[in-house]
Amino acid sequence: MTPARKAVRKPVEKEAKAGSPVSWLNPRILDPFVHEEVEKIRIVDTHEHLDEEEVRLNQPNDLTKFFMYYAFSDLVTAGLPADAQGKFFATIDPLEQWKLIREYWPLARHTGFSTAIRLSIKELYGIDDLRDDTIKPLIEAVAARNRPGVNRWILKTVSNIECCLVNASDPGDLARRTKAPGLFLFDMAVSDFFADKLDMTPFEKFTGLSCSSLRDWKRIIDWYFARWGRQAVAIKNVCAYWRPLKFEDVPEERASECFERWALRNEDVTVADRRAAQDFMFHYCIRRATDYGLPIKIHTGYFGGNGYMDMSLFQVKDLVNLFRQYPEARFVVMHLGYPEQGDLIALAKHYSNVWVDFCWGWIIDPQAGLEVARQALGALPSNKVFGFGGDYGYADVVYGHQRIARDGISLVLTEAVRDGRLSKNDAKMVARRWLRENAMEMFRIEDKRKAQAMGQPGARPNPHTKIG
């Protein structure tokens, strides 16, 4: 056994638990009571893109799982050359990957994205940083853990997470059938309905319903709500990546005409006509979600990746007509609307049907996370905040992100207690609400688990149905 392997042996075998020594912030700056209470909380992780464990186990054991979400983008913005970017994802040799990025890691290792990696590899694999001499031991340590149960170990045992609300779907479907029921619960991913190049074929094949009008399309949407409405925890819309968040209330007659020209006859329609059809469909989904008691999650703010962001598309305040029109709907505004987080606080304070979701927020910009937490503490009722969502495709980095979230919330609550603005018991209550109870209530976790336990939808409900 090499010294390096010996060094990673102990943490690999250790069953980590809440209150572990790896921390983002020095525990000595935190109130011990607040810190301990926050550590004990079994978090409801409101947003992930995690694959099934068997997918992970069959993937190459390389650095992709640490960098793909999202630290790679910070290396790119630090100057990682384009050819190195391509090669990184083309190779499966972790040492080759490291050679490509080793000059840029020191420039970006302090960011939130990278800090989550450093905290994760320390806690999970006993590696304190990425260096020439730690890549091989890291990969060996990951290999030693790469066996059935690894996701549960990372998420439940080490990260102390109750369950993850996952935004991922099977082909043609809006959610995923899972082998980890109870741990993974799913959003209905409705974004493809609002694609600029709407491809109805997968949905028609999957549902067995053909579409020759907007009325047909509504029937298909209804079919998916009937399929997933009882088990899904929310609907999720990420269309801010390609269009503005201003959804007009378009009459069905106009939407129908635009839909037929755009989606059925593939005519070259104007942007306004296409958006009219998209707008109608999102309003329709909101109404169906309300019927099924499903919250509406909306991506707002910053774009993942590099080099294409259009800030006019993701403005939180563009959603206000929806907040006014649908008082019975429950809107979960994701990612703090970063960098427009001030707008989000004001909207969540003003509208009783708007909630703030920190998912992704702590690692985009940890300072923004702290500032929003401080503002939320003074501006919002304690039931309007969801304090953590990892937003990862790989479980390994979830640990580091939740570590930042826990420590950040502990710090903000510690400040409030020390300033005399909050009692310790109040701080404990706020922490429990933000990290667990608000999400348990909002997403009806126990009900959804029961529905999931009663049987997930069939794999392919109408495999032989002919279209048309």
């Binding site: 921390s23 983002w24 912030l25 020095n26 525990p27 700056i29 983008s73 910070d74 290396l75 790119v76 913005t77 630090a78 100057g79 990682l80 840029y104 420039l107 970006a108 302090h110 960011t111 939130g112 800090t115 910053y302 774009f303 990746g305 590099n306 080099g307 294409y308 962001m309 259009d310 800030m311 006019s312 970063y338 960098p339 427009e340 987080q341 001030g342 985009i364 910009d365 940890p366 300072q367 923004a368 500032e371 710090l411």
Partner: protein, 470 residues
């Protein structure tokens, strides 16, 4: 050590031996050193800062002026006083160069107490203390201040104020009014002053072509000629210039559409050749085309593209829709090989700037002027940068003054602010001291040395100076 009350303390302290010349001297400080990590503070104070943005006149101009309060209060502190109620006519009177210090003080004495809490005034007080041993502006200190300034008004004043006291390695200067027909000038002292190519005149609402025709020897009858004149300016100045600088956010929006040359050419001729009176959209189209052309030339010559974003200096005219950093995103997407330097943290849109610099590999953030505008916003901005941006994307100081007298005070606020943010990070356990030191060096010096190629530009400017002397 004598402490003053208040959050922003003006203190005197004696620096231990072993650090560089400027920091061996007694120093006025912004933040109580007790609030800072000792090792980080020592490191930050030892850094010879690259000052990424100044408007300094040549020293010879300054030496010809009589001592007055103008080097301290002009523009920024004066604007705060106008905001506090100083009548505009009084402010205009203050700006005359022929007034004495005593006359200046009579104009502002009722308003100085109202603004001495602001960052711009804090920089004044820190500078007065450090340069001339005067702790504040009062009836009793104006005459001693004028006498102290007179005693210091001699050749070498700039090096003393900038290098010896403020610890500035080099100031990157943007001349507001270049010589007729030129976009830059030769540095009178390349050791301490290097220049941007100022493309502001090309964005002017009232361009006069004649001086450029005369300087270049090219008669300008169409847009192609104008491009040739611009290209010749780039060829002339690029070897010694550190960047190009665009400050047109003072007169128009930062949305630069990609106007085709075939569309811009007839508009150029209508507006500037035939002088037929172009509409605002027609002028904007020509300006848009010219700025795109300048970006392409800047890429060819390896020059960063500095852009004024955010707050408007002076008072009572600001149009926030003109200075939005996010209006620049089409340029960031279109020119991945350009290197954009966003000035003034886009204040008050600094969160947009952080997000843009995080997302786009070709965008950097520049804190020039920012510590003066709003030191609280700057501290917050630095904290955001620490967690959101790679460490090579921040320039932490640019004085943005026309005279060197206040560079010390502004630099002091920047150093103490950076030291405070890094001290917090170390104390909270988010980074090690060595990491903090490296970040301080990058933010205050190394990033700018690399980005603006300070060493090679300085060599080229010295060589040009020697060739001229021969």
């Amino acid at each position: 050590m004598k402490k003053k009350s208040g959050a922003q303390l003006v203190m005197l302290e004696t620096e231990s031996a072993g650090v560089q010349e400027f920091s061996r001297q007694a120093r006025a400080t912004w933040i109580n050193p007790d609030s800072l990590d000792d090792a980080i503070r020592a490191e930050v104070d030892s850094i010879q800062v690259v000052d990424t943005h100044e408007h300094l006149e040549p020293e010879s101009v300054r030496l010809g002026l009589r001592p007055s309060l103008k080097p301290f209060l002009h523009i920024y502190a004066l604007s705060d006083m106008v905001s506090a109620g100083l009548p505009i006519k009084e402010a205009e009177l203050f700006n005359r160069d022929d007034l004495s210090g005593e006359r200046h003080w009579k104009i502002v004495r009722d308003f100085w107490p109202l603004i001495r809490n602001t960052s711009s005034a804090c920089a004044v007080r820190l500078s007065l203390k450090q340069l001339y041993g005067i702790d504040d502006l009062r009836d009793s200190t104006i005459l001693p201040l004028m006498e102290a300034m007179s005693a210091r008004t001699s050749a070498g004043f700039y090096r003393w104020a900038l290098r010896d006291l403020a610890g500035i390695e080099c100031a990157l200067v943007n001349i507001t009014e270049p010589p007729a027909g030129e976009l830059c000038r030769k540095s009178p002292d390349p050791e301490i002053m290097l220049y941007d190519i100022s493309i502001a005149p090309l964005m002017d609402e009232n361009i006069v072509l004649a001086p450029y025709e005369k300087a270049s020897g090219i008669e300008c009858g169409n847009l192609a000629d104008w491009k040739s004149i611009i290209d010749r300016q780039f060829e002339l100045w690029a070897p010694t210039a550190v960047a190009i600088k665009n400050q047109c956010a003072y007169t128009r929006s930062l949305k630069f559409d990609n106007v085709q040359e075939s569309d811009a050419a007839p508009l150029f001729e209508k507006w500037l050749v035939r002088k037929e009176g172009a509409t605002a959209p027609e002028k904007k189209a020509v300006q848009d085309f010219v700025f795109h052309h300048c970006i392409r030339r800047a890429i060819d010559h390896g020059l960063p593209v500095k852009i004024h974003t955010g707050y408007h200096a002076w008072n009572n005219y600001s149009e926030p829709s003109w200075y939005q950093p996010k209006d620049l995103t089409n340029l960031f997407r279109r020119y991945p090989r350009a290197r954009f330097d966003l000035f003034h943290i886009g204040y008050p849109e600094q969160m947009d700037v952080v997000a843009l610099a995080k997302h786009f590999a070709n965008v950097r953030v520049d804190m020039c002027w920012a510590w003066l505008l709003d030191s609280g916003a700057s501290l917050s901005f630095a904290r955001h940068c620490l967690g959101a941006l790679p460490i090579n994307k921040v320039f932490a100081f640019g004085g943005d003054y026309g005279a060197p007298d206040c560079v010390y005070g502004h630099g002091r606020i920047a150093r103490d602010g950076v030291a405070l943010v890094l001290s917090e990070a170390v104390r909270e356990g988010r980074m090690t001291r060595n990491d903090a030191k490296e970040i301080a060096r990058r933010w205050l010096r190394d990033n700018a040395m690399e980005m603006f190629k300070v060493d090679s530009k300085r060599d080229a400017a010295k060589a040009a100076q020697m060739a001229e002397d021969l």
